[in-house]
C-alpha cells in the first residue's frame, strides 16, 4: 500500500488541485482510504491500478461537487473567489487557465495529462467513447492555449 501511495499520491493530489477543489489534500486522503479498503480485492497491472485509483478519485470529485452544490452558499460569498489559497502554488497560471475550459474538457485534459492516463483509460473512467475523449482533449488544449495567450501572457480569471 505504501508503494501505491508513493507512486500515485502526487498525481491524485495534482488532479484535485487542477480542478481547484476546496480541500485537495483531504480528498486525496479519502481516495487512498478507499484504496486501502479495497486493494485486497484488486487484481491487475500497473496501468489498470492507475485507472482504478483515478476512477475512485473521479467519483469522489463528483460527489464533492454535488455535496458543495447542496450546501448553503454562506461561505461562498464571492462568486469568483480566484485562485485557491494553496500554501504551495504550483503553476497558478496553468491552474487558472484550466478554469476557462468546460467541465467536460477540463476533466478529460486533467485525466489525460495530469493523471497521465491513456485515451482508453480516460474513456473508461469518464464513461465516454475514445473519439469523444480525443475531441474533448483537443478542444480543451486549444481553449487552454487561448486562455494562456499563446505567448504565456497571464489571464487570471479567464
Amino acid at each position: 500500500m505504501t508503494e501505491v501511495y508513493e507512486r500515485l499520491a502526487p498525481a491524485v493530489l495534482g488532479y484535485f488541485r487542477s480542478h481547484r477543489m476546496t480541500d485537495p489534500e483531504g480528498l486525496t486522503g479519502d481516495v487512498f482510504v478507499a484504496v486501502t479498503q479495497r486493494l485486497a480485492g484488486f487484481d491487475g497491472d500497473d496501468a489498470s491500478l492507475r485507472r482504478w485509483v483515478f476512477t475512485i478519485a473521479h467519483h469522489r470529485r463528483v460527489d464533492e461537487v454535488r455535496r458543495a452544490a447542496r450546501r448553503p452558499t454562506q461561505v461562498d460569498i464571492d462568486p469568483d473567489p480566484g485562485p485557491v489559497d494553496d500554501p504551495q502554488p504550483i503553476d497558478p497560471e496553468l491552474v487558472a487557465g484550466l478554469r476557462s475550459l468546460t467541465d467536460d474538457q477540463r476533466e478529460v485534459v486533467v485525466l489525460r495529462f495530469v493523471a497521465d492516463l491513456s485515451v482508453a483509460d480516460v474513456a473508461d473512467v469518464t464513461g465516454r467513447s475514445e473519439g469523444a475523449v480525443k475531441m474533448l482533449a483537443s478542444r480543451g488544449l486549444d481553449a487552454l492555449r487561448a486562455a494562456l495567450g499563446d505567448g504565456r501572457e497571464s489571464s487570471p480569471g479567464a
Partner: protein, 213 residues
Amino acid sequence: MTWRWSRSITKVMNEDDLSARLRELGHQPVPDTVREAHRQRMSTVDVPGAVRREKRFGRLAVAAAALVGFFAGSTGLAMAGALPDPAQGVAHDVLSVVQLQVPDKPDNLGRCISEAVKPFGDSDEPAAQEAKKDAKEACKAAHQPGRPDGVGRGNGSRGGPPADHPHAGDQCKGPPPWAGRDAPKPTPEERAQFRVDCPADVEDDAQEQEPAG
C-alpha cells in the same frame, strides 16, 4: 505555404510544451505533513477479510438438521404403518437392514385371497368352502407385518405373525385383507368369513348393508 507550415510546427511545439506543463502538475511531491496525515488515516482502515464473523449455524448444519428431522419423522410414520403403501414397503425393506421392524405394506392380500378362491368359483359344496377358507388363511398368514421375508407374498405357510411381532398370536389385528389401493373389493362371502374369523374388527362393516340373497 511556408507560413502555414511554420504555424503548424509552432502549434505542435506549443502543444508539447502545454502537455508537459500539465504533466508536471501530477508530479509535484506531496508535502510531508499531508503525507503523514494520509498514512495515519490509512492505518486505521479495517481491511475486509481480516476478521471473519463466525456464524453460529452454517448452511450445512441447517441442511443436516433438516435431513435428520425428515428421516426421523419418516421413520416414525413407517413404524406406525402410516406411510403410503409403496413408501411403506420401501421403508420396511430399508429399515430391516438396520434391524428396525416396521410394518410392511398390505401387499395385495385381497388379490391373494381372490386368486386363491377363484378356482372354486361360487360352489357351495362343503369341500369347496373348506378349501376357500384354507386358502384365505394361507394368504392372511403370508401377509402378516414383520415377516422376515419382508414382502409377505404368500409362501403357503399357515403360520401366524412371528413370535416377536407385536401382533403375534392375533391375526385379526392390523388392516383387513381388502385394505390397500391395489386390493380388490371383497365379496360378501369374504367379508362374512372375516367377521367369523375376526369378530372384534367388524365396526367398520357394521354400517354396511348385506346384499340381498
